[in-house]
Each structure stands twice: as C-alpha cells, then as structure tokens.
Symmetry: C2
Subunit: 243 residues, 2 copies
C-alpha cells in the first residue's frame, strides 16, 4: 500500500486521487466539525460549496453550518466552530455545511473519482489510521490547506495519521511512503509532545487566534477523542457524510 | 521580505516565480555539482535540457557533465557526481551540464521571469542565506525534487537556507515565511545534528545509495564548505551560471 500526501487543494495533480482511498484533512476546522457533529449524534452532513445552495437545501430537520473568513455566515445556525455542534443541538439533525477549504476538498475528491473519501482530524486520527491499516488500496492524504496554500496544521495531522498507520502495521511492513508523507511523519515524530507549539507557527493558527478562537484551536488539537471514521457517499450529485 | 517554498517543479503555480529572487535547490546533486565546479575554478556552466544540445555546444575548452537516471551520459566527460569536478580537470573550463531535475528547474525559473536566479545547496547554504538576508525582493525557494516529486533532501536544505537567513536577520525581524518554508525551517531545526539520518528517509537518497553513491551523498550534505553564490544569467536564450 502506497501513501502519498497532497499538500493542499491547489496542488492536486492528474491521477493523484483517482481510484484511491482519500483522507481529507482540514483540522482548523471543517474535518474537526464533521467528526464532532457525527459523534454528537448528527444524522448526516451535506457538504456544499455555495452559501445559496445551503439555503436552498434547508429543511425543518436541518441546521446550516459553516464559515467565510472563519466567521459564521449570516443567516446560518452554526459557525465553523466544532464547539457549536453540541449534542442537544445536533442529535438527529442533518447538517448542511459550507466552508472555504474543507468542503471544496471533499467535492474535488469525489469529482476526481476517488475510490472512497474519508475525513481525518486530530480528534479521530487513530480511528482513521486503523481503517487505513486494514485497507488494500493506495491512499492519498489530501491536506485541504488554507485558500489553496499549504497549512502546517493539516500537515502535522497528516503526519499523525500516517505515523499511527505505520505503528499498527509495524509487523507486516507493507506501507510505502512518498517523501511528502515521510516529511509529515518526521514532523509529527519530532513534535508529538508539543503539537500546539509546532502549530503556533502556522499562519491560519495565528489568524484564528487573532479573532479569539483559542478554545477552538485547543479542542481541534486534542488527540484521539473520537473513534469514528466519517465517509462521503454521493448519489445524484448530492454528497453526504456519515458514519 | 516574504519567503515562499515551492516543493518541486511539478508544483510551480502562476506568479510563484515572476519578479522574485529564486533559489534553486537540487542537493542530490545538480546544485552541489554547480557550486563545486565553480569553487574548483570552472569558468562558467551552461545548463541544458537535452543531451543533443549539450553535444552541439561542445567546444575544445568545454566539458560535458550530467546524468540520466543518476548515471553518466554516454559520451560525456563527467557524471553528475560533484566529486568528478576536480580542480585539475575543471579550472578555466566551461561545463555544459544536463541533469534530470536541477537544470529543468533553472530553465523554468528563467522562463517564468524570475528577477534573479541563484543555486543553493548544503555546501553553500550560509553564503546563499547571507545574500538573501541583504535582499529586498520577495524570495521563492524552488526545490527541484526528483522527477517532479517533492524530495526530502531538497526540503531540509531549503530549511537550512531559510533558517540561516532568519538568524542573520534576527534583529530586524523583516522576514515573513509561508507555512511551507516554516515547515522546512522546523524540520531543519529539529534535525540539524542528524541531517544524514533525516535524509536517509528520502527515496532519492535510497536510490543513490543502491547504486553505490554513498560518498557523493556524504559530500553533498557537508554544510557550508563553499562561500560562493552561483547566479544564472541569460542572453539570447542561452543560460550561463557563474559567480
């Protein structure tokens, strides 16, 4: 099994995704929101690119969530803070989610004919690694990044997921890493006891901190709180994330 | 001054290079060859993409150097081992160099209208950093990579060059790093006392080792042996590297 890492959605190349198991990472914050909402009982999540589409798909049993420039969208029920997605609010609900980077990465992966698409975060890294370790497919880790740019926070999370996969598979030695995923593993290995310090160098971290989202960041970098692997399915062009 | 890092020639995006000071890194081995040849008295280096062009430009005072699949090209005088470029062979000579990754990166940078193009390696990292620290331009560090793929060896060298630039500029705090160059700096910082161990994870390292080029690798990862900054100039479509 080969693991390749795509440093951001701007860097997706032909054949990077087609036929592979793709793990999308947008730690700050879309994939942290997704796994938290599902862990708190949300029925499913519809990732949509445009705000207008989110409004047009709103029903009585759904909540609109997401962000533009990291802030709640006017008229939406929830922001892109995973701390918004409390059990009492989301249980049994459909979440219609529109974010700048993560939902785009999900759409790209489906459109580029991935074999299957999962979402990963620090919160469910070990669960995703366990899933990957059992897979026979080649794997692409797609770091969503920030406005198309590579983002340190997604990179270190990719490193953790691959590192955990290797550890699970230690005995059979069947995982081959490209240099990008190896760089992520080495970054995680050197910094696993000081992840927040490492991530404090990320430009998106600094931006979120500047608008008062320290609690969000701390929550998003909590490791292995949730034992779920969200998966994206697609029917008639409509995408759905569930477990 | 902003520093951005381009992870390999496959990942060059519009406006990544135009108008910037570009540092090309191909540690294993083109940019190590270039600085070694110039340090040993070569007059100039002509980087050419095609083998046929190298032969057509050969004169009495020139030597043909380079590789395909890391091996010497048939009919060439020198391989792509920096250890071939001994003072007694290269003094006063023009080197016509054709390699798979490094010379391509040079051509791309010139064609994409870089303001100026330099070559960096571990051998002259501090010299390049000193040059950059005095610059007012935005800087792009272009890791040549291996057949278009990101390569750990170029990445760690980029980290060293940026790290040295920051250290020189510590007092004025004028350098802004994108997350990619920050990742490289953090990788260098965590591994500066065990660079060869870090690089032993690189796929190109493993390939070169498998064909017996251990000495080359060790030489290419010697830090700051040479105090030169090779620069590329272009006249009538012909490129020349000199100091």
């Amino acid at each position: 099994m080969k693991i390749t890492l795509i440093p951001s959605i701007d860097y997706i190349r032909e054949n990077d995704i087609k036929g592979k198991t793709v793990v999308i990472i947008d730690v700050l914050r879309a994939t942290s929101v997704i796994v938290t909402a599902l862990a708190n009982g949300a029925k499913e999540i519809f990732p949509v690119i445009e705000v207008e589409e989110a409004f047009s798909r709103k029903t009585q049993n759904s909540l609109l969530g997401g962000e533009r420039k990291a802030l709640k969208i006017e008229g939406f029920d929830l922001s892109n803070s995973p701390l918004d997605y409390k059990r009492e609010l989301v249980t049994g609900k459909t979440i219609i989610l529109s974010t700048t980077n993560g939902t785009k990465a999900i759409h790209y992966s489906i459109n580029e004919q991935a074999k299957e698409v999962l979402t990963g975060s620090m919160l469910n890294a070990k669960a995703v690694a366990g899933y990957l370790a059992k897979s026979d497919s080649d794997i692409a880790i797609l770091c969503a990044g920030t406005y198309g740019e590579f983002s340190l926070d997604d990179f270190i999370c990719a490193g953790k997921i691959v590192w955990e996969s290797i550890n699970i598979n230690k005995s059979c030695n069947k995982i081959q890493l490209d240099d990008f995923s190896m760089a992520a593993v080495l970054a995680y290995e050197s910094n696993r006891d000081r992840i927040l310090e490492y991530v404090s160098n990320a430009s998106h971290y600094k931006y979120l901190l500047s608008i008062g989202l320290k609690q969000d960041i701390e929550y998003c970098f909590s490791q292995d709180l949730i034992d779920l692997v969200p998966k994206i399915s697609c029917s008639n062009g409509n995408m759905k994330i569930s477990v």
